[in-house]
């Protein structure tokens, strides 16, 4: 069985980071690690505007926080302004965690005080925006703001979605729905710079 997916999953900008724990344990030489959108989609089990938004917000926040340097896993603290139990928040938190290594409680607890990955995600933190990223080493922080309103949903998409969910869709309609859904996700990638604002705070 072969894994097939829309080509744009692999052609979008990837995110490179450094992971000191990797280097310490001889995992990746030089500790450099790279994630692409496909990696994230596999873990999330689907590609959708929330997963894409979380991926793009992480990419843009890290660019702003680290400029020409490689971002450092374990050195990035992430905050959300909603509860962990909020659906979109937890889907986004999983994406950010996958990339930055930051976890609430389920992660590596460190070796002799180093490389701890827990306690790096917080929920219910009041701030304006979707996700806040903070560098632990220098305290520099940014908030990301994701606004999808300029990428409307094709009205056909919602009609088809309810048909698929109620098992009334033909095979052709199922495929139409899938194509429309992923086309919107691809559009979000194409318009990333308009849809996502990153503000230093």
């Amino acid at each position: 069985m072969i894994m097939n997916y829309p080509t744009f999953f692999k052609t979008r900008p990837s995110i490179q980071l450094k992971d000191p724990l990797q280097k310490f344990l001889g995992t990746f030489h030089d500790g450099i690690i790279e994630f692409n959108y496909l990696d994230i989609v596999k873990n999330a089990g689907h590609s959708c505007p929330d997963v894409t938004g979380a991926y793009l917000m992480t990419l843009k926040a890290l660019n702003k926080l680290y400029k020409d340097e490689l971002p450092m896993r374990g050195n990035i603290k992430v905050s959300f302004n909603k509860e962990y139990s909020d659906d979109i928040t937890s889907v986004m938190a999983d994406v950010v965690s996958h990339i930055t290594g930051a976890t609430l409680s389920l992660g590596f607890r460190g070796v002799e005080g180093k490389f701890n990955r827990t306690g790096l995600i917080e929920f219910n933190v009041p701030f304006e925006g979707n996700i806040k990223f903070e560098r632990v080493d220098n305290g520099k922080a940014v908030t990301t703001h994701y606004d999808l309103s300029s990428i409307p949903i094709d009205p056909k998409q919602n009609v088809l979605m309810s048909k698929v969910l109620s098992n009334e869709a033909t095979v052709g309609e199922e495929i139409d729905f899938e194509v429309l859904w992923q086309r919107r996700v691809e559009k979000i990638f194409n318009h990333a710079s308009e849809l996502i604002q990153v503000k230093s705070i």
């Binding site: 001889g26 089990g45 659906d87 409680s105 859904w181």
Partner: protein, 200 residues
């Protein structure tokens, strides 16, 4: 991104994800994970991460030995230990990444389908460290992972001490990384001995 070659030579895990099928993400929902995928997310390769990978691989082989493809969202995982204890969280993250099962996070579902939360629990009263259950058939397996028969090079302890005190030379750092990954590779080679799966 450079890494030891065995990361690419270990068996992959293929599953089906109905949510990804529904949303046109993967054709027929077929998704494949390699040890490299897991290592990237975990931030390191170690006996715990490889053990969690092999535990999941062997559990899914046993649960789906009827020829069907393991189904993300159809697998419930219970751990004996507390989520905050030792390496339980590291193991849970690996299992979660592959099976999609989460305790609280993850997708909460659409019209009652595709939910990924409430598929994992901790502090369970079970006979092994972890059990995997198929929700459609109820078939359940206990999995035990014991890598103690795969000894590490005795030099590792000494080198690790030096590294932690920041007195290791660049050569010693490199040697430690290589010895460490050699042991992980040896664990993969001995997978049938270090992982035991029992139907319950």
């Amino acid at each position: 991104m450079n890494y030891p070659t065995f990361f690419d030579n270990t068996p992959t895990i293929t599953l089906q994800d109905p949510l990804s099928d529904f949303l046109g993400t993967f054709e027929n929902g077929i998704v494949q994970f390699s040890y490299l995928d897991i290592v990237k997310s975990a931030g390191h390769s170690c006996p715990t991460v490889s053990g969690a990978y092999l535990t999941t691989l062997k559990a899914l082989e046993a649960l789906y030995n009827d020829g069907s493809t393991p189904m993300r969202g159809n697998i419930f995982v219970s751990f004996k230990s507390d989520a905050l204890e030792g390496v339980a969280g590291v193991i849970a993250n690996v299992v979660s990444q592959i099976t999609g099962a989460t305790e609280h996070s993850g997708f909460k579902g659409l019209n009652g389908n595709f939910a990924r939360n409430n598929l994992m629990d901790f502090n369970a009263e079970i006979g092994s460290e972890v059990i995997f259950k198929r929700l459609d058939t109820g078939k359940t397996v206990e999995v035990t992972y014991d890598p103690s028969s795969v000894g590490g090079n005795p030099k590792m302890q000494e080198l690790m001490g030096k590294l932690m005190q920041n007195v290791a030379t660049p050569e010693e750092k490199k040697e430690f990384g290589e010895l460490w990954q050699n042991r992980v590779e040896a664990i993969f080679k001995q997978a049938d001995k270090v992982v035991t799966v029992k139907e319950v």
